[in-house]
């Protein structure tokens, strides 16, 4: 029976209170509901967050089993250059796999998940990693700004050892023009909220859930948790009432703690539901965006075996408030910042070199000497151990999932950075290997020699003249 084998999520460290936004640009709009949004750091985007959620999902699993990767997003950095293939490379997954980007609608998260179930049920792949991630750019002062949050979810779909079986689905599709963004545009357009709420949100979700109940002869009371996006607080409650669901059955929408994470939203809610699930629980999930998909699951006994995931809960509690709206604008490149002439220097990414070195650059793979056992990054042909020096006796060795400690560090005010000082240093990896990395998601004052760190996949630069979003790995304090 196909189902979910593992789950993971990612919520960026920064949170911005709605008040911060209102204080800065409140004159442009109405007072937002209380709460805060998860805000991606300046070097994060939908792609990097999908990798982070994927790492959480695959922790404790063998990566070799994964033979498919589906990405769902509406904020993919690349229009051409498959984002899912880049994520698969970053996760050091095999090349023999199916990859696909599901884009264009916030419904894409559930659609990607449905497609993964279909693919596995059709025995075209065995284990598909589904990542749903959104980091949407909203126009300063727009209603979306305090509504949208950044986050990602990841689910491993397979047919054995599942923690929740996929029991069925029901979908509706409408060309509902609530929000749209044409090719080449930076920001979304939106029609009036009352139209979105009354003609879309409050129609499609009841329709799709009722359709599902009818199709499988179920009662709404059968479900332990019901998860659907909470774009409108009052509308969210009204739908439950209309369906006859108790408030206790409703999965928290994360709207006041993370924000509306678009494609990721229903999957993040599903992950959060799975974190609390017990064997036998039934979970219903529905999306919203140009219609809706509803899916339902039954939790198996294997749910008890899932351990060590950060998922939604741990990420929610690991946060730092971003108190400066101006800094947020700088992070999103929405205010032109002077990095000095030093910061204007860039080289065009040599794409052939990037492809050749993709395991080193994107997957943080080095080598391990078969003769002396020394791990080394980047990949070396001649062993770096001065007492060994063996030539071509290497095997691949992945550092991205190794922890390490700070060997030394600095906070550099001269280096061009959107968030100075630029903190970087040398990391000694547990099990061997040393290299220098940028440090991120940390404050200079908290960094110490010997501090434990882990690796995180981040956007390294955006070369606007070359149209390149470059990625590599950075070190960060271990996120509790």
């Amino acid at each position: 029976m196909v189902g979910i084998k593992s789950y993971g999520a990612y919520i960026p460290r920064y949170r911005m209170n709605h008040n911060t936004i209102f204080t800065a640009v409140g004159f442009l709009g109405t007072f937002p509901p209380p709460g805060e949004n998860a805000v991606a750091n300046h070097d994060e985007d939908a792609l990097s967050m999908a990798v982070a959620a994927g790492i959480d999902c695959l922790s404790g699993m063998k990566r070799e089993i994964v033979d498919g990767l589906y990405l769902a997003t509406t904020s993919q950095p690349y229009m051409v250059r498959q984002n899912s293939a880049l994520i698969a490379t970053a996760l050091d997954l095999q090349a023999n796999m199916r990859t696909a980007d599901f884009i264009g609608s916030t419904k894409s998260g559930t659609t990607a998940l449905l497609s993964a179930f279909d693919t596995v049920r059709g025995e075209m792949s065995s284990n598909i990693l589904v990542c749903a991630s959104d980091c949407r750019l909203s126009k300063p002062g727009s209603p979306q700004e305090s509504l949208y949050g950044d986050g990602a979810a990841s689910l491993l779909v397979g047919s054995d050892d599942v923690i929740a079986t996929f029991e069925g689905s029901y979908s509706v599709s409408y060309d509902f023009p609530d929000r749209w963004r044409a090719s080449g545009e930076k920001f979304e357009h939106a029609w009036e909220d009352r139209f979105i709420r009354d003609s879309g949100y409050s129609q499609f979700i009841p329709e799709v859930i009722s359709g599902l109940l009818k199709k499988y002869n179920l009662n709404i009371k059968d479900f332990t948790k019901i998860a659907y996006p909470g774009l409108y607080a009052r509308g969210h409650g009204a739908i439950a009432k209309q369906l006859g669901a108790d408030p206790g059955q409703l999965q928290d929408t994360l709207l006041s703690t993370v924000g509306d994470t678009g494609s990721a939203s229903p999957l993040m809610m599903l992950v959060a539901a799975l974190e609390d699930a017990k064997p036998g629980d039934k979970i219903l999930v529905a999306s919203f965006g140009n219609g809706s998909d509803a899916l339902f699951f039954q939790v198996t006994e294997r749910i008890e075996n899932i351990k060590g995931k950060r998922a939604v809960k741990k990420h929610l509690n690991s946060k730092k408030e971003l108190t400066s709206y101006e800094k947020y604008l700088a992070f999103r490149n929405l205010a032109p910042m002077d990095l000095g002439m030093r910061g204007e220097i860039s080289i065009r990414t040599p794409m052939s070199a990037l492809f050749r070195e993709r395991k080193v650059v994107l997957a943080l793979c080095g080598s391990k000497c078969k003769k002396c056992g020394t791990p080394q990054y980047p990949y070396q042909r001649v062993c770096v151990n001065p007492d060994c020096g063996a030539i071509d006796q290497m095997e691949d060795y992945r550092f991205s999932d190794k922890k390490g400690v700070v060997f030394t560090y600095t906070g550099d005010n001269l280096a061009a950075s959107i968030d100075p000082p630029s903190v970087y240093g040398l990391v000694d990896f547990d099990g061997g290997g040393r290299f220098w990395f940028d440090f991120v998601d940390c404050d200079l004052d908290s960094v110490k020699v010997g501090m434990p760190v882990e690796m995180t996949f981040r956007r390294r630069y955006v070369d606007e003249s070359g149209g390149v979003h470059g990625y590599s790995w950075k070190a960060m304090p271990i996120r509790a």
């Binding site: 060997f407 030394t408 630029s422 040398l426």
Partner: protein, 400 residues
């Protein structure tokens, strides 16, 4: 067993421009200025020069590739000119090439000239260059700046030897204060003002824990030397200065990628020193080396170099600094000319600028009597290019 270079080559003339933010001087002007002083000092003419070695690092910043710019600036008459580039050891590499050229017997007289015109970038600090460490590194290395890279050496030194940031910064402040004292007395230096330890400690942070005065200046300059075979030297002047050793050592990668290096010293510095002492026949550098110009791109670099070159025992440089050992009037003056700290660091010129100071001191010709070190016998120069975890170090010793 190789014989080495000891006493086979002599310096018979040197020149050095004033260093500084020379807005009205081009690289060509600097080359001509250094060359002019150099041949006048040697008492030779252009036709006597058989070959030249030319050091410049950021060629894209000023002179372009190759060695033609030197040949054209000096109107060298169709003789061999070779360009050298090896990070901050660039000028010392030019000097090494010239010395090997005459020592081999291929030439009688050779010119080494190093130049760097840095102040045409439009911003402070060294020119940024994402391709500095090659294509692969550009994709995976942090965007290090020089202050940041050496700040990591300070962080590590403080950690390994248990210095609080306050103790560490105080130690480093003494290093810079000493160099500013010397530079203030040198008409060719760029920064000619004495600064107090308090000013140094309270200066803005460039890269934690290094502040403004822990960093050397960025300036324009050129320096040059004329060398000949030792047996010919006395024909040109009564007081030639002899080359005792020329060594360089480069990182093997084990500092950056293997986990044995302690990060509180520069391995290449120690290795190049050992090679140099062997070639020069020096047993006790702390006692035998009269004075030195070392690569004080940052205060921490000088402090650590004192240990790498065995002037101070490991972890003990603080005691020597506090005792004033390296002051102009101390037993082993370091940076008598003010160092990179006060001259700034036009990369391609610095190694020859250091040799110029040692050469003049050995001849008893420091410009002002108060700058003259009493009866020096051996002077050492040291350059370190790159970053503490991945670099090149050169060591040269010259003497009477």
């Amino acid at each position: 067993m190789a014989e080495g270079i000891k006493d086979k080559v002599a310096i018979i003339g040197m020149g050095c421009t004033k260093f500084g933010e020379l807005w009205d001087k081009s690289a060509d002007d600097l080359m001509v200025d250094a060359y002019k002083e150099c041949i006048e000092d040697a008492g030779i003419e252009k036709k006597d020069i058989n070959a030249a070695w030319f050091g410049v690092h950021f060629e894209e910043q000023s002179v372009g590739k190759g060695a033609t710019s030197l040949a054209l600036a000096l109107k060298l008459p169709f003789i061999p000119v070779t360009r050298t580039e090896n990070f901050c050891a660039t000028a010392t590499e030019a000097f090494r090439g010239a010395c090997y050229g005459v020592a081999s017997g291929a030439y009688d007289i050779a010119l080494a000239l190093g130049v760097e015109k840095l102040k045409d970038t439009g911003y402070g600090g060294l020119p940024g260059n994402p391709g500095l460490m090659g294509t692969k590194n550009a994709l995976i290395m942090p965007k290090l700046t020089a202050p940041g890279a050496f700040a990591m050496l300070a962080t590590r030194y403080f950690s390994v030897y248990g210095l609080s940031p306050e103790e560490g910064k105080r130690m480093l402040a003494k290093v810079s204060a000493k160099s500013h004292y010397n530079g203030a007395r040198n008409p060719k230096a760029h920064l000619r003002r004495e600064v107090t330890e308090e000013q140094i400690i309270n200066a803005p942070i460039i890269a934690w824990p290094l502040g403004l005065f822990d960093c050397c200046g960025v300036s324009d300059g050129a320096a040059a030397a004329i060398v000949t075979r030792a047996d010919m030297a006395k024909k040109f002047r009564p007081d030639p200065v002899y080359v005792k050793t020329l060594q360089i050592a480069l990182s093997s990668g084990e500092e950056l990628m293997y986990t044995k290096w302690d990060g509180a010293h520069v391995e290449t510095g120690y290795r190049a020193g050992m090679l140099a002492y062997k070639e020069a026949g020096i047993k006790n550098p702390r006692e035998e080396i009269s004075m030195a110009e070392v690569h004080d791109c940052f205060s921490i670099t000088e402090a650590v170099t004192m240990e790498d070159l065995q002037f101070s025992p490991r972890g003990k440089v603080k005691e020597d600094i506090e005792a004033g050992r390296f002051n102009l009037d101390g037993p082993q003056p370091i940076q008598p000319d003010g160092g990179l700290k006060c001259f700034g660091h036009p990369i391609g010129a610095s190694g020859l600028r250091m040799l110029y100071e040692m050469y003049k001191q050995l001849q008893g010709k420091a410009q002002l009597p108060e700058r003259q070190i009493k009866n020096p016998r051996l002077g050492l120069t040291h350059n370190m290019g790159g970053f503490p975890a991945m670099n090149i170090v050169s060591v040269a010793i010259i003497g009477l």
